[in-house]
């Protein structure tokens, strides 16, 4: 990839011109934010959104952020932090596991619907997306949703575009809800427990009203994160310590939540899979996955398994996405039921009739 040849529009109008032209010529495009998400092996020219960057409006009092897709995530995080706020879904930084060195962007985060450990409590990226502007595969400049917290005016296409990996449209502006950063946090760590025990710990903790905001199992240890106002934290911590005493919890103030968020423990080049399951199925799946020869970790209270290693996890779990190929060929996304696949194809054709936007990227 030679950067000089990239298409790098700096305005929405330029995006529209490029897409209209590629639509007319039926020329496929690979859409890149900072180039730090799912492996993109789509043929064609590269459309880079890094120049379509910058914050349009940030209103802390209204808890809304409007920004262009190429805006670097670190820039946004700093700006929000200065106001005591954050993107509650905790966007991950996938550079480590994908071996990239670009800067993660807001657009890439939304296009991948990427969410970190707090997804468990606060919802996914798409739950914080209030509205979008975008250009479809014909080059039409469009919008959906808005900048208010509640909006049921017409069909919710923002949700559809979140997680569409640039296969339906090119995002040109996103509106996200921001939330107050809770002032205090701590972690209960359970060193040396199996996934089965971790799951018992998660189930107990997540049935309490203490708003556990992270429940992960990495490298043989389980972690529970609690966050809140200063007055809440000690109370919640002590209640959980008592409830889980038999598992010998330790209080930890520097738990590796950022590494957990980024699945940093699975940096490398061999195949890496992301598997969604019912939490109670996770321990059994992990046993099966390890028998194939690799390693697992858990996030989202067991609802998310990272698997690094050989074999085909789809033999065990339907909902497996290949995040890093490591030499594995075949579709990266899980297969869909025929009627669902037909709907999905139909939507692709209506958003992008010439099939120019990351064609094939999400094939199941």
């Amino acid at each position: 990839m030679t950067v000089a040849l990239d298409l790098a529009p700096a305005t929405e109008a330029e995006v529209a011109d490029i897409l209209a032209d590629c639509h007319a010529r039926r020329t496929p495009l690979r859409i890149l934010g900072g180039g730090t998400r799912v492996e993109n092996r789509v043929p064609g020219e590269t459309l880079t959104l890094s120049r379509l960057s910058g914050v349009v409006t940030y209103s802390p009092g209204e808890m809304t952020l409007i920004a262009r897709p190429g805006t670097p995530l670190p820039e946004i995080e700093q700006m929000l932090e200065a106001e005591g706020q954050a993107l509650a879904f905790e966007p991950p930084d996938m550079r480590g596991i994908l071996g990239r060195n670009g800067t993660p962007t807001l657009g890439g985060t939304v296009a991948a619907n990427a969410s970190g450990p707090r997804r468990l409590l606060a919802g996914a990226c798409r739950d914080h997306l209030l509205g979008v502007r975008f250009v479809d595969g014909r080059g039409r400049v469009l919008k959906n949703g808005g900048r208010v917290m509640k909006n049921v005016t017409g069909l919710d296409l923002s949700k559809l575009l979140a997680g569409s990996h640039g296969t339906l449209a090119v995002l040109t502006e996103v509106v996200l809800k921001t939330l107050p950063l809770l002032p205090a946090r701590t972690t209960l760590a359970f060193p040396d427990v199996t996934e089965a025990t971790a799951l018992r710990i998660f189930t107990t903790a997540l049935s309490t009203p203490y708003e556990v905001s992270g429940a992960a199992h990495v490298g043989g240890a389980a972690y529970l994160r609690i966050e809140g106002l200063d007055s809440q934290l000690a109370y919640r911590r002590d209640r959980l310590l008592a409830l889980l005493a038999e598992h010998r919890p330790e209080v930890m103030d520097d738990a590796p939540w950022q590494a957990i968020r980024d699945a940093a423990h699975f940096a490398g080049t061999d195949p890496l899979w992301r598997i969604l399951c019912k939490p109670t199925e996770a321990p059994g799946l992990c046993d099966g996955l390890r028998a194939m020869g690799g390693d697992c970790s858990l996030d989202w209270g067991g609802g998310l398994i990272w698997y690094r290693g050989p074999g085909n996890p789809r033999d065990l779990a339907a909902h497996a996405t290949l995040v890093r190929r490591g030499g594995v060929s075949g579709p990266a996304f899980p297969p869909l039921a025929p009627a669902v696949a037909r709907l999905q194809d139909g939507l692709r054709r209506s958003f992008d009739p010439a099939g120019i936007l990351n064609p094939g990227l999400m094939d199941g």
């Binding site: 809304t64 469009l142 969604l276 199941g364």
Partner: protein, 482 residues
């Protein structure tokens, strides 16, 4: 009556006996209604100014029966209007004379309660309140709580992406919906989403939720459930100006305290509530009810913070509740607000949403518009997320009054869009706001939404005259009819 519906398809009406016979062949005898005496019960939803008895009503009990109905209607080109409990305030369940009402309220089973994986699977005819009631013994609840929760069904909640008083903290339906079983117009049954925390491909569930019965008929749902909080307590704060009340809302939100609810009531509403429910609210222009959750100590701490914020703004009154009775007394007036307003006469209830910072200006402008149109308006709403509920009072027996109320309502909604908000925060577009959609969306923005409907419902048989302005959808409907 200022909102037009397309002329019924005479070819469909001419076939009514054949259509009803075909439906009877696949459904139990009590599940097909075509006696005009009985179909009248389905002539409207909670937008009662608009009425039209349907050609027939079907009340299936299973997904398979819903699928059989859809196949027949698709084959014979019959429009289908899905219906839950009929509490839509936007005319979402309003029939046309050539349609079959497909009521899902007999699909009423709770199929699975899985607290370890934190979801329930229900048939969508269950009422919103009964889901939380089923969960109570398990220590869990389902968060979205529309005021109509005693009657409204999960099907309607999904179709409208309904919210409630507590969505400031817990989100609306779409944030609490994990999966849905949907019958397409082909009669195919598809599962979108499921107990897992994310879709396998595109987020079709995300576009289904809030689609107002435009894309498919939802027969089962997987809902996210939450552990019940230890306790909850409201405070009541009175202010001598709406602007200051609005400022208080914004300051609370910025402070980092996240209340579960911030409700607002203005003077006309307070007057009606006082006359009707004798709630003992302070006599002032604006009242906020703020509810926080947690353990006793957590609640005390949060209330202290809220008091500090409010005190800085010189409230007329800051009333705490020391026990369950006092808490109930604080909520009593808010909960009876709709009933109280109903006693004042007829009303239309809008739910335009504005950015929180625009609340004071918007309230002032609504007051001006009220004088201009010569109709009274009361405001009672979810202030924390800017979701207004202006209730316009009118007299349905007075010629021209409904039209005036609708014109006033349209002005309010235009105002909401103008200040950066939207036409509807939780009630949906239905027929009520259909013709205002072009205020918020450009023609292409509507076109792409209608293209999504084309994919799910190529025949435009599901709720075809709703949501999109008729002239905007004309070409899609005509193409579909070929």
């Amino acid at each position: 009556m200022t909102i037009a519906m397309p002329a019924p398809d005479s070819r469909v009406i001419a076939q009514a006996p054949r259509i009803v016979a075909a439906l009877r062949a696949v459904l139990p005898p009590d599940a097909v209604i075509d006696d005009p005496q009985e179909t009248r019960a389905y002539e409207c939803d909670a937008l009662t100014a608009y009425r039209c008895p349907p050609m027939a009503v079907v009340l299936p009990r299973t997904t398979a029966e819903v699928a059989a109905v859809m196949r027949i209607c698709a084959d014979m080109g019959v429009p289908v209007v899905p219906r839950g409990a009929g509490t839509s305030l936007a005319g979402g369940a309003l029939p046309t004379a050539d349609c079959v009402i497909l009521g899902t309220m007999r699909l009423r089973e709770v199929l699975e309660i899985d607290t370890a994986n934190r979801y329930v699977r229900v048939q969508t005819g269950v009422t919103n309140l009964s889901v939380s009631a089923e969960l109570e013994p398990h220590g869990f609840f389902y968060a979205p709580d529309p005021s109509s929760q005693l009657a409204c069904t999960i099907a309607g909640n999904i179709a409208m992406n309904s919210g409630g008083a507590h969505c400031l903290k817990y989100g609306v339906t779409t944030n609490n919906l994990l999966g849905a079983t949907v019958v397409l117009t082909t009669g195919e049954v598809v599962d979108l989403g499921g107990p897992e925390m994310g879709p396998a491909g595109l987020d079709l569930l995300g576009v289904l939720c809030g689609s107002e019965g435009q894309l498919g008929v939802v027969t089962e749902a997987v809902l996210r459930i939450l552990p019940r909080p230890e306790g909850a307590r409201p405070v009541l704060i009175g202010f001598d100006s709406p602007e200051v009340a609005g400022e208080c809302v914004a300051n609370i939100i910025r402070s980092g305290v996240l209340p579960v609810a911030i409700e607002y009531m203005d003077e006309p509403c307070l007057r009606a509530v006082e006359a009707f429910a004798k709630a003992g609210y302070p006599d002032c222009p604006a009242v906020l009810i703020v509810e926080v959750e947690g353990s006793k100590a957590e609640i005390d701490d949060q209330i202290a913070r809220i008091r500090a914020i409010a005190d800085a703004l010189n409230p007329v009154e800051f009333r705490e509740s020391r026990n369950a009775d006092e808490a109930m007394a604080i909520w009593k007036g808010r909960k009876s607000a709709f009933g109280a307003m109903g006693r004042l006469g007829d009303y239309i209830c809008l739910d335009g949403t504005v950015p929180v910072g625009q609340l004071p200006y918007t309230l002032r402008r609504i007051g001006e518009l009220s004088r201009q149109h010569g109709l009274e308006v009361a405001n009672v709403f979810h202030a924390g997320d800017g979701n207004m509920h202006p209730l316009i009072l009118f007299d349905a027996n007075k010629p021209g009054d409904l039209a005036r109320a609708e014109a006033f309502g349209a002005d309010i909604l235009r105002l909401c869009v103008e200040v950066g908000g939207c036409l509807t925060g939780e009630h949906g577009v239905g027929v009520e706001k259909r013709d205002l959609m072009s205020e918020q969306y450009a023609p292409d923005d509507l076109a792409i939404q209608m293209q999504v409907k084309d994919v799910f419902d190529p025949g435009w048989l599901l709720n075809p005259a709703k949501v999109f302005p008729l002239e905007a959808s004309a070409a899609h409907r005509a193409r579909a009819a070929e």
